[in-house]
Symmetry: C2
Subunit: 201 residues, 2 copies
Amino acid sequence: MNKKTDLRVLRTNQSIRKAFYELIQEKGYEAITIQDIADRAMINRNTFYLHYQDKPDLLDICVDELLEEIKNAIVQCPISMRPFSISTLETVMQTILEHISHNTSYYQAMLVGENKIYLFQSKMEKIIKDKLNEGWNSPQGNSTLTISKELLLEYLVSSFMGVVIWWIKNDLPLPAEEVSSQFSKIVAYGHLKTAGIAVKE
Amino acid sequence: MNKKTDLRVLRTNQSIRKAFYELIQEKGYEAITIQDIADRAMINRNTFYLHYQDKPDLLDICVDELLEEIKNAIVQCPISMRPFSISTLETVMQTILEHISHNTSYYQAMLVGENKIYLFQSKMEKIIKDKLNEGWNSPQGNSTLTISKELLLEYLVSSFMGVVIWWIKNDLPLPAEEVSSQFSKIVAYGHLKTAGIAVKE
DNA sequence: TAAATAATGAACGATATGTTGTTTATTTAT
DNA sequence: ATAAATAAACAACATATCGTTCATTATTTA
């Protein structure tokens, strides 16, 4: 009687999700029709509407479900920005990378290729930004930054996402610990010096 | 007789572009119908098809025209990555920022807000990446980087775009020279130290 | 086994698309 | 200034997708 106990509901729903992720990678979200999903999931087009309002509804639910997992993964990571603690930033990234490594195909569909879902990236950026922002909200009084905090956050989030996406796109070429370790070093010391590139004024 | 001399063509085309940019910001690209554009531009729906194949065609042309200007702006900027020269990176960013400041409304529509055009950002990232990549193509032999060059490029481009978008989003709060100067310093020395934030191991 | 409910299948109106003609208005060239 | 060229307007069309309704069939739960 409960919606989640009826095997038909579960099976249909699984088929829809699977078909949807496949089609996103094949033809991109916008090009997908409800009939496409129904055909691939081998259900009647009408059945789709018994489970989701429309295509954006399906996308939102998929996106939010994945992001909810990221939120849960990092919620207990401690974070401190003043003083900046390398280990905490490293922990956040490593936690996220490890979560991604257990659900690679989903994140591949969401974040890689010309059919990637920019809504997902944008929402994920917000989550990272909020998390990093926590580190500044500790009651230590305002100090005098020579750069706008907003600019700093933007910079940090952008590079963070850049590295994460690079990692997924290249099929996780390095262990999660190594990527997060290198990233935090780059952030702290400047990536050119970290990489061993000479700098001339 | 030439398509570009007939005032009717020019006027109609201008109306279409203007309507298109407005509608992108108002309701987002996907929600726009050809009829919307025709109504706003005060032309017959049919007339649209005399100028563009379809909606994606119009978008592509708008995007590529803007990007062409960016390409032209930075094509003559010298760039060197080994040794890394702060001034060259600074020059590239400053050139781009100044170009943007002369066409703010277009870049606002393309890069800011929930209706931004991710295709544009993605193509712009590629242009920046190619440009930065030039700096490595000088014949100096392979050196041993401690980080993958691809990772480094991804990091650089992501942070570059992050700063640019932040700048546009906040209505160009600082002069272009200052943003590009600070950015290159962050890149070279690490943003935390640049910002005056203490780092603890 | 009976009741509940999920899924099917057919049909519908509404909306947007892209195309094809024809007519009107404007521009260019003679 | 006028005639030829062409852009734009207007109407009509077939097609596709959407979201909904309703009756019927199949499956699951109680």
